[in-house]
């Protein structure tokens, strides 16, 4: 077994959400639990197909499971909420439905069969078990910063893949507490950001974003924290139309700042540097 965790990046982490990947890599290295990218991996498909008879759209996630299996590993860790959700649902389906696994393996044909022995985890699962290590790593507690945690959908729905209580999650609040920030109660933290409507119905996304951001702002939030690249894009990019300018951080960016690590923060539409300088977190 390898040291650290077998890491499945997903396509967005290599492009629009590179800030999330680089900060997570640095943070996990510092915690002594490095993320090691898989030798081979495939796009998860980005949307979980709900059709009962649609095996075609389960192939991509299961190929990635096969990659882990062929590397001799039985766990993969994702950073992206969407990838986590899609991989986990496809993987669970193969574990639960023997017929589907058989159909899949018949299709995979020349490739090795998937034996169903790989588990899918999100970074939060790993961080949950590292409380002491995180406390030890915090050199610059972010004491003056007021943040609203935001989960969105993919970490919590459907409830069989939820990383925490679907209606009342605390996993992110607990983690942020270790960094010294003031964590707000955010009643809108499990609402949908508008998701892929961003492609052709930005009016819907803007409505969702306004609802989420205006509530956080009313509570006194100076920043929003999350882990989903699509939520980050929607809350960050579409805020312009709502008149707010609250920076939207990946949770690992705040961890990196609290650990005293340098990060780039180049994917942000609302530049977080102004706030971080105000708070004395950046010089």
């Amino acid at each position: 077994m390898m040291k650290g965790h077998l890491y499945y990046p997903g396509c967005t982490l290599k492009t629009k959400a590179s800030d999330y990947e680089t900060s997570a890599m640095k943070v996990m290295e510092r915690l002594g639990e490095p993320l090691v990218e898989m030798d081979d991996w495939y796009c998860c498909g980005a949307v979980q197909s709900l059709a009962e008879d649609d095996i075609m759209h389960q192939i991509a996630p299961i190929r990635t499971m096969c990659c882990a299996q062929e590397q001799g590993e039985d766990e993969i860790v994702t950073l992206c909420d969407m990838c986590y959700n899609v991989l986990r649902q496809a993987n669970d389906r193969m574990k639960e439905k023997e017929d589907d696994l058989e159909t899949m393996n018949e299709f995979l044909d020349e490739d090795p069969d998937y034996k169903g022995g790989v588990e899918v985890y999100h970074l939060f699962h790993v961080l949950q078990d590292l409380e002491d290590e995180i406390k030890d790593a915090v050199t610059n507690p972010l004491e003056d910063l007021v943040v609203a945690p935001y989960y969105g959908c993919m970490l919590l729905r459907p409830d069989n893949v939820a990383i925490d209580e679907t209606e009342d999650p605390e996993i992110m609040e607990d983690l942020l507490g270790l960094l010294g920030v003031k964590v707000l109660e955010n009643p809108k933290r499990t609402e949908c950001c508008g998701s892929y409507h961003t492609v052709n119905r930005s009016d819907i996304v803007e409505k969702r974003v306004e609802d989420i951001v205006s509530n956080a702002s009313k509570e006194g939030a100076e920043a929003i924290v999350l882990s989903c690249p699509l939520c980050q894009f929607n809350l960050d990019f579409h805020q312009r139309a709502t008149g707010f300018d609250i920076p939207v951080f990946y949770v690992t960016e705040l961890m990196a700042l609290a650990f005293g690590l340098d990060i780039e923060m180049k994917n942000h539409k609302i530049d977080p540097r102004t706030l971080l300088k105000e708070k004395g977190i950046l010089e």
Binding site: C11, Y42, C43, A60
Partner: protein, 236 residues
């Protein structure tokens, strides 16, 4: 040929070209077997050496349910083979100005020009179709995550036959997209070659015209001799 060889019976195999039965000598390539059967190639035949990608063939044998694909000039006929030639792929190739496709200026330049790449479901049918044994699905996946270099390197042996694209359930234009990736990689990531620029300049000035004229006008035998005796200088 000795008289013995002349009398030796040639083993024949039965093939079906577009459904019509022919008996052809065993051991021929599909291309020569077609010519043996009386077909004449005016298109769909190029180098005859497995490099140009012009002679795609689709076939299966009688006891198979799967279609196989390969190059007609590189594949031997088998008994009971059903086959057809696909000399041209009408797949869309996007226009672009090489000066405007700097990967640093785009989130994902390949996806900007070939957005259907995002429809890949990882079925791997493209890879199975490839006569060059390229990991086609893997380079499509590399393109999807914006990795121009990996797309260029994995697709390096592509001969543009187009069989990947004709099999793809997502209508991806693998080979055109990958060619774009290789051009971008060469233009923006690879070091430029001063020697090449110098040589092009020499050619344009006509430095080699006299020498070329001599070669063109040489007798065949003399040219062969000259080729065999040519001086190959070590690099550097």
């Amino acid at each position: 040929m000795t008289p013995d060889e002349e009398n030796e019976e040639v083993e024949m195999v039965e093939i079906f070209v577009m459904g019509k039965r022919y008996n052809v000598p065993k051991g021929l390539t599909i291309m020569t077997a077609l010519e043996y059967a009386g077909y004449k190639f005016t298109r769909g035949c190029g180098c005859r050496g497995g490099f140009c990608g012009a002679c795609s063939t689709v076939f299966r044998t009688e006891d198979e349910y799967k279609l196989r694909m390969d190059l007609a000039c590189q594949t031997a006929v088998e008994d009971g083979m059903f086959l057809v030639q696909l000399p041209f792929m009408p797949a869309v190739r996007e226009d672009y100005d090489i000066e405007e496709v700097d990967p640093e200026e785009h989130d994902n330049v390949l996806l900007d020009y070939y957005p259907e790449v995002a429809r890949c479901v990882s079925c791997n049918t493209c890879t199975k179709a490839c006569p060059q044994d390229i990991e086609v699905m893997d380079y499509v996946q590399a393109a999807l995550r914006g990795d121009v270099e990996r797309t260029a390197e994995l697709s390096f042996d592509c001969i543009q036959c187009g069989l990947c694209s004709i099999r793809c359930p997502a209508d991806i234009k693998h080979y055109h997209m990958a060619q774009m990736a290789r051009r971008i990689h060469a233009k923006y990531n690879q070091p430029s070659s001063d020697e090449l620029a110098k040589r092009v300049e020499e050619i344009e000035k006509g430095v080699y015209e006299e020498e070329m004229e001599k070669l063109v006008n040489m007798e065949k035998e003399a040219l062969k001799k000259r080729y065999d005796e040519r001086d190959i200088k070590e690099e550097g």
